[in-house]
Subunit: 139 residues, 2 copies
């Protein structure tokens, strides 16, 4: 289960880390540090915003979380790394976010590796458009 991941990664099992893991586990979309912070407060618990940032930094380095996209262009948002491969499609108008869980890149990457002699480790892909709800609205 979720909590074991800390042990497996050699991290101390602290209240903050468990809370953040829990929030991210329940989340159905990428969350910013601030959003995580607020959600924890809603659950009548409280940890410092700095701690949220520091924890996410540690989780990133241990590959427990990932930053799939930059929200609003300037806030990082985080998701739990579930070793699934997917991408997000974001509505330019209302910012609604849809998870796309298939990706045609396996072969594409091989082509590029041969072409460039790079070893490809990962890719980031974000799709932008207008959601069905916002189509036909002026802005």
């Amino acid at each position: 289960m979720m909590e074991d991941i800390l042990l497996k990664k050699g991290l101390k099992q602290t209240k903050s880390r468990l809370l953040i893991l829990d929030i991210l586990d329940k989340a159905d979309k990428p969350l910013t540090a601030e959003e995580i912070y607020r959600l924890i407060q809603n659950e009548e618990d409280s940890i410092n915003l700095s701690t949220v940032y520091r924890t996410l930094e540690v989780f990133l380095n241990k590959n427990i979380v990932q930053i799939p996209l930059m929200k609003d262009g300037n806030k990082a948002s985080y998701i739990l790394n579930r070793d699934e491969h997917h991408h997000y499609l974001v509505c330019d108008k209302c910012h609604k976010m849809i998870k796309i869980d298939f990706c045609p890149f396996a072969e594409f990457e091989k082509q590029i590796e041969q072409l460039t002699s790079f070893t490809i480790l990962k890719h980031k892909l974000e799709l932008f458009g207008i959601c069905p709800n916002c189509q036909g609205k002026t802005k």
Copy 2:
């Protein structure tokens, strides 16, 4: 040529805008606002850093420039929109950047449009890996 783009987009032809267009036109990689600012100084010219930001904002809205996903730390970087479709492959170690100018997304997008009912307007894709030069180095 480069300068006509301002007229075509209904923008005043100012010194700042021409300088920034020129810098971006010559650039062989995405540039941050600060880098653009410094390069203009090197050319014995000078405009205010705020103006660089404001100009890039205008250019973004007019689709004259684009921001690739990759951030230089936490700074946005900009490229001229040449209506070519390409992506970057970046070395995780030395940050060397290679332009990849083919992309298999046309059909993929159609699939996703049908699946989600979104209208897809664009996508951002970046690839990360290790360049031939950095392969075999410890870190």
